[in-house]
């Protein structure tokens, strides 16, 4: 069984190789990378933690939904946890499809939902010595059917309105 959560660096080349498909004409890769600045503060180190049993299940379901809702050949998702440095890849989505429209749409869909539904937490340490858990997005425990639609990236936290 594939493990979606890993403490090792995410190997983009390996995931591109294992997803090769002669019927695919389009490959879309999204990677989230650790930024040096967040909310105006200089980040010196970052740590991601996960509740692994649910995070694994949740990511597997998101990949399955991406494949079900889009005309694509594959959707692979990986999330790294543990300590990371600026520039490191924290999350990777790889989609292959016959045509590019569906590949872009599925890649965007998958990463938007990952950011909203997977129990993972980002903990940042700043140059001034302070540190904090980054504001996040509540999991919809009481009304799972009321999940809000995945939205555009909010700079921080889980703003319901797209930033652009």
């Amino acid at each position: 069984m594939t493990s979606h959560i890993t403490t090792a660096p995410i190997d983009v080349g390996a995931l591109m190789a294992t997803t090769e498909d002669p019927e695919a004409g389009a490959l879309v890769v999204f990677a989230g990378t650790v930024r040096q600045h967040n909310d105006g503060k200089k980040v010196t180190s970052i740590n991601y933690s996960a509740y692994i049993p649910l995070a694994e299940k949740s990511i597997a379901e998101i990949a399955a939904r991406a494949r079900r809702d889009h005309d694509i050949q594959c959707c692979e998702i990986r999330h790294r946890i543990g300590d990371m440095a600026v520039g490191d890849i924290s999350v990777l989505v790889v989609v292959r499809a016959e045509h590019r429209g569906e590949a872009f749409a599925a890649g965007r869909y998958a990463i938007d939902i990952v950011k909203h539904e997977v129990p993972i937490w980002k903990y940042e340490t700043y140059e001034d010595g302070t540190h904090e858990y980054v504001k996040g997005c509540p999991l919809h425990h009481e009304h799972p059917s009321n999940r809000h639609v995945a939205h555009a990236d909010a700079g921080a936290g889980c703003s319901p309105s797209p930033t652009r």
Partner: protein, 92 residues
Amino acid sequence: MTHSTPAGETTTVRVQCFGVLQKVCGGAERAVPVAALPASVADVLDALVREVPEAGEYLDTTACAIGDTLVHRATPVSADDTLVLLPPVSGG
């Protein structure tokens, strides 16, 4: 498995905290005393707030899980369960 608790005896529920709740509660795991088992998720959260009042402000936006399943506030928690507290997530 659900066990009933003899009257007058205090029992505990294992609670596992993530994210900001781990910081607030001073660690990833703790045993929260409850009056009786089975207790509901809501009962356990109330008990946690009695132990750690600062946790209260986070619980409205915190989801709970047992194993790999999200559970409702009314779900019963038995002696064998670990109740997992999942504050707002920030992966990606």
